[in-house]
């Protein structure tokens, strides 16, 4: 085989890893590093069209001191905090319930809880948008009326909008987090529970002194992806209002604001400045969280 000698000269143990890694390197340079650098550059420019660009220094960043951006930051931050406050404890408890050997229909519950994660945000949004319609006949307002409350304009007020968005997020992701916690529960050595039982620990003591500490790594992981997902939220609000605009910016998120500046107002420079700000926020939160949870500490210390 004439080709075989040639290919063995080219594809050696030295070159092979680089051949394997090269597609990633190319994609990384073209579609990640270059855009990342150009976001920073664009954030210092006013862009009128292709080739028609003025350098304006930090002017875009100064322009970010506006009420709209304050709303976007507030909404994203509150959304992130609330979703974490719900999407850690709730799935954790449900995972413990499912994991108990005595629980029946475990497979059914696991599948049922996971199904929402399979829906696209548009389809799920369709349900939430119209279940929370302002009409008195709409599902949720009917429900509110039967328990004696007054119907609301859910998607026209700040806090009710936030409530709907957080509920929407909870619906789509709680099943996924259950899967994470279940895998964490499976990794706990059974002997720990047996020893505790011999020592006469109650189920609650076992939960707080064995289960919780053992789930630390999984919890850190869930919180990390929730911070990431929370600050990057866009689609949920976009489908709820049908665009990046919402009355009084009650549904505006940071990414929504990037989209609005970039695609509704064609101000790519301003949009990039928001992107850079989001980059800084995410990196800061991640670093704080990672150092707080001790991920940087050397093993053995």
């Amino acid at each position: 085989m004439p080709g075989s000698f040639f290919s063995r000269r080219i594809i050696t143990q030295k070159t092979a890893p680089w051949i394997f890694v090269s597609p990633f390197i190319i994609v990384f340079f073209v579609f990640f590093l270059y855009p990342l650098i150009s976001t920073f550059v664009m954030s210092l420019q006013e862009i009128h069209g292709p080739g028609d660009v003025t350098f304006i220094g930090l002017q875009n960043y100064r322009a970010l001191a506006n009420e709209q951006f304050a709303h976007a930051i507030m909404n994203s931050a509150v959304y992130t905090i609330l979703t974490i406050a719900i999407l850690v404890p709730l799935p954790l408890v449900l995972a413990v319930f499912i994991n108990a050997q005595t629980t029946r229909l475990r497979g059914f519950f696991k599948s049922a809880y996971f199904l929402p994660a399979l829906t696209s945000v548009v389809v799920a949004g369709l349900f939430f948008r119209f279940a929370f319609s302002a009409q008195e006949t709409a599902f949720i307002n009917k429900l509110v009326a039967t328990i004696g409350g007054t119907p609301k304009d859910w998607l026209f007020q700040r806090w009710t909008t936030m409530f709907v968005l957080v509920l929407f997020c909870t619906w789509r992701w709680f099943g996924v987090n259950i899967i994470y916690f279940l895998s964490g529960l499976n990794a706990i050595p059974q002997e720990q529970y047996e020893a505790a039982e011999i020592d006469g620990a109650s189920p609650f003591q076992r939960f707080f002194f064995i289960t919780l500490p053992n789930l630390k790594a999984v919890t850190v992981y869930v919180v990390t992806i929730s911070v990431y997902g929370g600050f990057a939220m866009f689609a949920e609000s976009f489908t709820m209002f049908g665009s990046a605009r919402s009355p009084g910016d009650i549904g505006l998120t940071i990414v929504g604001y990037i989209y609005l500046e970039g695609f509704n107002f064609a101000r790519l420079g301003m949009g990039s400045a928001i992107g850079v700000t989001l980059f800084v926020i995410i990196m800061t939160v991640n670093l704080i969280q990672l150092s707080f949870t001790g991920t940087f500490r050397k093993k053995g210390n």
């Binding site: 890694v21 990633f24 449900l94 696209s120 990037i258």
Partner: protein
């Protein structure tokens, strides 16, 4: 003793109440959407989503309208989504597995750097890059094309991470025996390693396919003309109460989630493996 038994009974009842309530919460939207798709869309626009489902007035009219909508536009979207999902999944699984395998098996200069880059890309949300990426797709003339949707995400750092973890378990002997048999390094990967990685391929492929099928922000930006849209973006474009839009939206939404639910019910194990690889290792 009876007191103890009673308290266990109460605990069990409470536990099942919570679990059943959460199942209803998870499943009810599916049922309500399905039932809503069997009545006029205008009704939902007018009254919101109501629960006064009346079997006598329900019909498949919405699905008939969907079939004839704008010369089969919905089927365009469906086809686009299927093609993008399949191509993106195959490309990403293949390329990511190669990277992950190389990082796990070879000891080469720059390995740590490449792995650090993988982790860094995982940490930075791609949402901040949408504007420069948009400009880039115009520059590369892949705007409004399937390539434009797929190329920027041709390698998934998450999948690379997964395949690295998985490939660390490959016995060195297996690779060495391939070398002795005269396979070159690429041959070893494609002939000997890929069968070993098959379960990992399954897990990541399913997860990747789910992500592609439901992907929203990037296709929304890249795809411009109506016939090129994917399902989520096409359905989103119907969110204005114009003509029969809502009939199409409801029936189209129901048909769009069916394939992924079937795939899930047939491959639940693979979904779970794919999801949990990153979480347990501290």
């Amino acid at each position: 003793m009876t007191y103890h038994n009673r308290s266990i009974l109460i605990q069990q009842i409470l536990k099942y109440m919570v679990m059943v309530a959460m199942s209803v919460f998870a499943l009810a939207p599916f049922l309500f959407l399905l039932l809503s798709s069997l009545r006029p869309g205008a009704q939902m626009v007018q009254n919101g989503l109501t629960l006064d489902f009346d079997l006598r007035t329900m019909s498949l009219e919405g699905y008939r309208i969907l079939m004839n909508y704008s010369e089969g536009l919905y089927f365009n979207w469906y086809t686009n989504s299927v093609i993008i999902t399949i191509v993106q999944t195959c490309v990403s699984v293949l390329l990511s597995s190669m990277v992950g395998y190389a990082l796990a098996v070879y000891d080469f200069r720059g390995r740590n750097l490449v792995f650090t880059v993988v982790l860094a890309v995982m940490m930075i949300p791609v949402e901040i890059l949408i504007l420069p990426l948009f400009k880039l797709t115009i520059l590369l003339k892949i705007i409004d094309t399937k390539a434009g949707v797929i190329l920027p995400f041709a390698v998934s750092p998450f999948a690379v991470f997964f395949f690295r973890q998985y490939s660390m378990g490959i016995p060195k002997d297996l690779i060495d025996s391939g070398r002795i048999d005269g396979c070159n390094e690429l041959g070893i990967f494609f002939r000997i390693i890929t069968p070993v990685l098959l379960p990992a391929f399954g897990a990541i492929a399913i997860l990747q396919a789910m992500g592609s099928w439901n992907s929203f922000l990037w296709p929304l930006i890249v795809l411009r003309s109506n016939e090129n849209l994917t399902l989520p973006i096409g359905l989103q474009s119907l969110l204005t109460p114009y003509g029969n839009n809502y009939d199409v939206l409801l029936s189209g939404s129901v048909l769009s989630i069916i394939p992924i639910i079937i795939v899930f019910l047939l491959n639940q194990k693979a979904f779970i493996t794919g999801l949990t690889v990153g979480s347990v290792k501290g």
